[in-house]
Symmetry: C2
Subunit: 526 residues, 2 copies
C-alpha cells in the first residue's frame, strides 16, 4: 500500500532542509572541482550521461535526497504507475505513456485489452500506412505521391511532435531516411493555417488531424480551414487527411479520413510524443524504422528510472535536486539550454510538459498545499542564449538553476576549422565555459565586471543527437517531471487550470457576458 | 543636473511600498470591473492602445507611481538620452537607437557628425541597394536575380530582425510587397549553418553579415562556413555578401563584400532592429518603403514616451507597474503572450531586450544594490500557450504577471466561420476570456477546479499587425525597458555579464585549462 503524503509532512524533507548549504563557488575550485566533475556523473541510456557536479549538492545532501526518495516511495509509485494503477486520480485514469515504448512491469489489461499490445498494434498500423505512402501505394487522387505531411494539433499534439521533428530533420536528411517534409498548424489565429497553406503544395500534402477527444476547438477549426483550402483547390479532402484520436471520439469512424490511428485516455497530451500523436507524423516524415529507434531509446532510459539507487537513476536524482532548489533554496525558475540547434523547440516542449504537469496548488486529493510546486521553465539553444538572456543569468539579482544539454558531435557533420578549432569544438567549449563561469564566477575590482558565481547547473552530455538519444532525452525529462510530481504529492496528469478560460471564451462568442468580460469583448470588437 | 539615485533611497518608493495592495479579484468584479476596463486604458501610436485594468493598481497606486516617476526624473533622463548625453556610462557611450527612426530633441553631433543624418544616410544607402537588387540591377555573376536573403548574426543581430521578419512576412505577401525570402543563421553549432544552406539555393542567395565589432566569434565562423559553401558551388563569395558593421570594424572596407552599411557604438545590439542591422534584411525582404513605415510607427510611439503625465505615457506606466510588481509585490517573472502567430518570436526578442538590459546587480556607478532588478521574461503566442504552460499561470503556486497583445483583425484575412464565429473572433474571445479568468478566478467546491484569480495582466490591443503598429510595439517595449532601468538606476545599455563565458571558452579552445574547466572539456572531447 503506497502512502501519498505532502512533502512538508516528511521527516526526510525536514532533515534535508536542515543540511548546511553547499557553497558551490568554493566546491568547484581547483582539483576538488575536477574531482566533482568526474564523480558527480552517471550513465544514461544511448551514450548519454548526466553530470551534476555544478549543482549545489554534496554527498551529505545527496544522501538526504535518497532518504527523501525512499520516504516519498518514488520507486513504488513509479512501479504502481507502470503496472497500471489509477495514478491520475482526478480523472480516474491510468497513466501509460511509458507503455507506448516498452513494458517495465506486468501486463496492463483494461476492459479486456492488453494495452501494450494495443499501442504496438497502432504503431504497426501507422508503419504500414507510412510505408504505403512512401512506396506510392497510397497517393492523391491523381496517383501522385504525397511529399508533405501537415500535423494539425495544439498543445501536446503540437509541441512534442514538432520539437522531435526539428530534432531529427537534419539527421534524417544526412542518413537518407528523410521521406516527407513536415509542417505544423496549431494556433486558432487564422494567419497560422493560412501561412502554412500558402507555403505548401496542398495537392501533394497529407494532413494529420490530432485530437484525443475529437473536440479541441482550435484543431477542429483548423481542420475546416484546411478542408476549405482543399475544396477550393478542387481536391477531395477525405483523400488527404488522416486522424489520430481515441477510439470513442467522433473522428474515429468518420469517412472524412483516409485512416484513423488511436491513442487513449491513458496518454496525456504532453506525454504523447511516443504514441500515435508523434508516431504518425514522425513515421511519415522519417520512416517507421526511425520512429521505432526513437521509442527504443526512450524505453532504455525508462529502465534506468526504475533503479532504487538515486546515484544510478538520472531522472530521479535530477528531480530531487530540482525539488531541493525549489523548496529549500527557494528558486522559482529553471532554464533548459540545449547546445544544439536541432533542439531549438525542445525547451518549448518541456515548458508544457513540466509547467502543465506540476503547476498545481492542491495535492492529489484536492487539498491546498503549503509549499511551492513546479517552477517556470524557459530556454533557448546555446550559443544563441549567451548573446541574449545569459546576462541576467550571470549577473541578475535572482539565481536561475540551469539544465544544459550538449553533444560531442554535430548531426550533419559539415564543419569548418577557423582559428584552430571547428564550430562543433567552439560549441562544446562554450558550454563547458558557461558551466564553470556560472558556478565559479570571477572577482573584479570593477564590480560591474564581477561575477558572483554560485549559479547551479547540470549537463546531459551525448555523443550525437540521434533517434535513440532523442528518445532517451525525452524519457529522462518525462520521468523527472513525474518524480517531482510524486514528491510534491500533486497529480501531474490532469490540467484543470486550462478549463476556465475555455468556458469564458465560449461565453464571449455566445455574447453571454457582462462586467469586465463584456468590456474586454467590446474593446476587441467581438 | 540629473540625480541618479538608487530606488530604495527614494521617498516616493517608500510611499509606494506602504500603499494598501489592490485585491484584483474584487476590483474586477461586476460593473466596477467594466468601469476599470474603460478607464484604465490609454491610446498608443498607430491605432494601438494600452489597457491596464487587470493590473493590481488603483488611482492611489498610480498616483504613487507618478510620484516615483517624478522623483526618479524619468522624463529628464529620457530627454538627456535622446539629446545625446553619455547614458551608457560603463562604456562611455551615447544611446541613440531612437535617433534611427526620428528626432525627439536637439541635433546630436558627435565627432562632427550629425548622427540623425548619419543614420538616415545609411537607411537611404540600404534603400538604394535593395531597390537595385529588386530591379535586377545587382545580381549574381550570371546576371540572375537574388531570390533569398540570409542574415548571419547572433543575439541582437538575429533575434530582433528575425522576429520583425516573421511578424511581417505574411502581411507583405498579402500586400504584394514581399520581395525575397529571408533566412537566418546564428548559432555556432555547425548544424545551424549547414541546415540553412541545405534549405536554400545558394546561387541566388545574398548573405548579410552583421557584426558591429566585426569580431563576433559565431558570426565570423558562420561567414567562413558560408564562404566555403559558396566556393564549393563555384561562386564568388564577394558577389553574394554584404556587411552591416561599424565604420571602424575590420569588415568596413573589405573587398570581401558587395557593399557595407553602417551602424555605430551608440546602437546596442538588442536595440538595433531600427538601424542597418534590421534595415538591410527587412528592406531586402519587403522593400525599403515597408521598413520606412516600420520606423515611422516606432517614431510615433517614441513621442508618447516623452509625455510627462504617466497616464498618457504607455511605456512609462507599463514600466512603473512592472517595478511595482517586482519590487513591492515581489514577483520574479513576466510572461509576454501575443495572440498573433506572426509574433511567434517577439517574446524571444523581448527576452533578450529586457533580460540583457536590466539583469544587473550593480547600479550605474558599479555599486551593489539591495533590491531586485529585471525579471525573467518568457512567452509563446496564444492560443498555443493556453494548451501549454497556462496551467501553471492559472493554478501554480507562484504568480506570474502577464503582458497580452492582441489584434482585432488578422493579417492575411483568410478565415472560416465555424459554430457561428470566425477564427479571428475565437482568437480574440480567448484573450478576453483569459484576462478575466486570471484576474477574477472561479470558486469551486472541488479545490482542484478552483481558480484563485488575482493574477495581474495588461493588454496592448491593435487593429492589425502592420509595419507601423509593429514599429510602435517595438518602441513601446524598448522604452519600457529603458524606464525600468532608470528606476532601478542600472545601466541598461552594457552587458558585462556575457564576457566571462567568452574568456573561458577561448581558454578551453587553447587548451589552457585546469580543474573543473579541464574536466568538463575532457568530458566533451574538446
Amino acid at each position: 500500500m503506497i502512502n501519498w503524503n505532502n512533502l512538508d509532512t516528511l521527516n526526510s524533507f525536514k532533515n534535508l532542509s536542515s543540511k548546511k548549504a553547499v557553497v558551490l563557488k568554493d566546491a568547484m575550485q581547483g582539483e576538488n572541482g575536477a574531482k566533482r566533475v568526474k564523480e558527480y556523473s552517471m550513465p544514461m541510456a544511448c551514450g548519454l550521461s548526466f553530470n551534476y557536479a555544478a549543482k549545489a549538492v554534496n554527498d551529505e545532501i545527496i544522501d538526504a535526497l535518497a532518504d527523501l526518495a525512499k520516504e516519498a516511495e518514488l520507486n513504488e509509485k513509479f512501479e504502481a504507475l507502470y503496472n497500471g494503477e489509477v495514478i491520475n486520480t482526478g480523472e480516474k485514469r491510468l497513466v501509460l505513456h511509458q507503455l507506448t515504448r516498452g513494458q517495465l512491469g506486468n501486463d496492463v489489461v483494461f476492459d479486456g485489452v492488453n494495452k501494450r499490445e494495443f499501442y504496438l498494434g497502432e504503431q504497426k498500423k501507422i508503419a504500414e500506412f507510412a510505408n504505403k505512402v512512401h512506396a506510392g501505394e497510397i497517393t492523391n487522387a491523381k496517383g501522385e505521391k504525397f511529399t508533405t505531411v501537415v500535423q494539425i494539433g495544439i498543445g501536446g499534439s503540437d509541441l512534442g511532435p514538432r520539437a522531435m521533428y526539428l530534432a531529427l530533420e537534419n539527421w534524417a536528411k544526412v542518413n537518407n531516411t528523410f521521406k516527407m517534409e513536415a509542417k505544423f498548424i496549431s494556433n486558432v489565429d487564422p494567419d497560422d493555417a493560412a501561412g502554412v497553406l500558402n507555403s505548401i503544395d496542398v495537392a501533394h500534402s497529407l494532413f494529420v488531424l490530432v485530437s484525443k477527444s475529437g473536440t479541441t476547438l482550435e484543431t477542429l477549426t483548423n481542420e475546416s480551414f484546411v478542408k476549405d483550402a482543399l475544396k477550393k483547390a478542387g481536391l477531395d479532402a477525405s483523400k488527404h487527411m488522416i486522424a489520430v484520436t481515441s477510439e470513442t471520439s467522433p473522428l474515429a469512424k468518420s469517412s472524412d479520413y483516409l485512416a484513423a490511428f488511436f491513442m487513449d485516455d491513458f496518454i496525456g497530451g504532453r506525454y504523447s510524443s511516443c504514441s500515435a500523436v508523434g508516431g504518425a507524423v514522425l513515421s511519415l516524415a522519417f520512416g517507421p524504422e526511425v520512429f521505432d529507434r526513437f521509442l527504443k531509446g526512450a524505453a532504455e532510459e525508462d529502465k534506468l528510472a526504475t533503479n532504487k539507487d538515486v546515484r544510478k537513476n538520472p531522472a530521479m536524482l535530477d528531480a530531487l535536486i530540482g525539488v531541493y532548489e525549489r523548496n529549500v533554496l527557494g528558486l522559482p525558475c529553471t532554464a533548459v539550454l540545449p547546445y544544439s540547434q536541432a533542439l531549438s523547440r525542445f525547451p518549448a516542449h518541456l515548458q508544457q510538459a513540466d509547467m502543465e504537469s506540476n503547476g498545481k496548488s492542491v495535492n492529489r486529493f484536492g487539498e491546498p498545499i503549503n509549499y511551492v510546486t513546479g517552477p517556470v521553465i524557459f530556454g533557448e539553444p546555446g550559443t544563441n542564449g549567451q548573446h541574449s538572456f545569459y546576462q541576467l543569468l550571470h549577473q541578475g539579482t535572482d539565481i536561475v538553476p540551469l539544465q544544459f544539454i550538449g553533444f560531442k558531435n554535430s548531426q550533419i557533420g559539415l564543419d569548418v576549422d577557423i582559428q584552430g578549432s571547428t564550430s562543433q569544438q567552439k560549441l562544446c567549449a562554450n558550454v563547458a565555459a558557461q558551466i564553470v563561469a556560472f558556478a565559479c564566477g570571477k572577482d573584479d575590482e570593477n564590480k560591474n565586471k564581477k561575477f558572483e558565481g554560485g549559479r547551479p547547473s547540470s549537463i546531459i552530455i551525448g555523443e550525437k543527437l540521434t533517434p535513440e538519444s532523442l528518445g532517451a532525452l525525452l524519457s529522462h525529462f518525462e520521468n523527472k517531471i513525474m518524480f517531482q510530481g510524486f514528491v510534491w504529492n500533486v497529480n501531474s496528469f490532469d490540467q484543470e487550470g486550462v478549463q476556465l478560460g475555455k468556458v469564458l471564451a465560449k461565453k464571449v462568442l455566445a455574447h453571454e457576458t457582462d462586467g469586465a468580460l463584456k468590456a474586454y469583448s467590446d474593446l476587441l470588437n467581438i
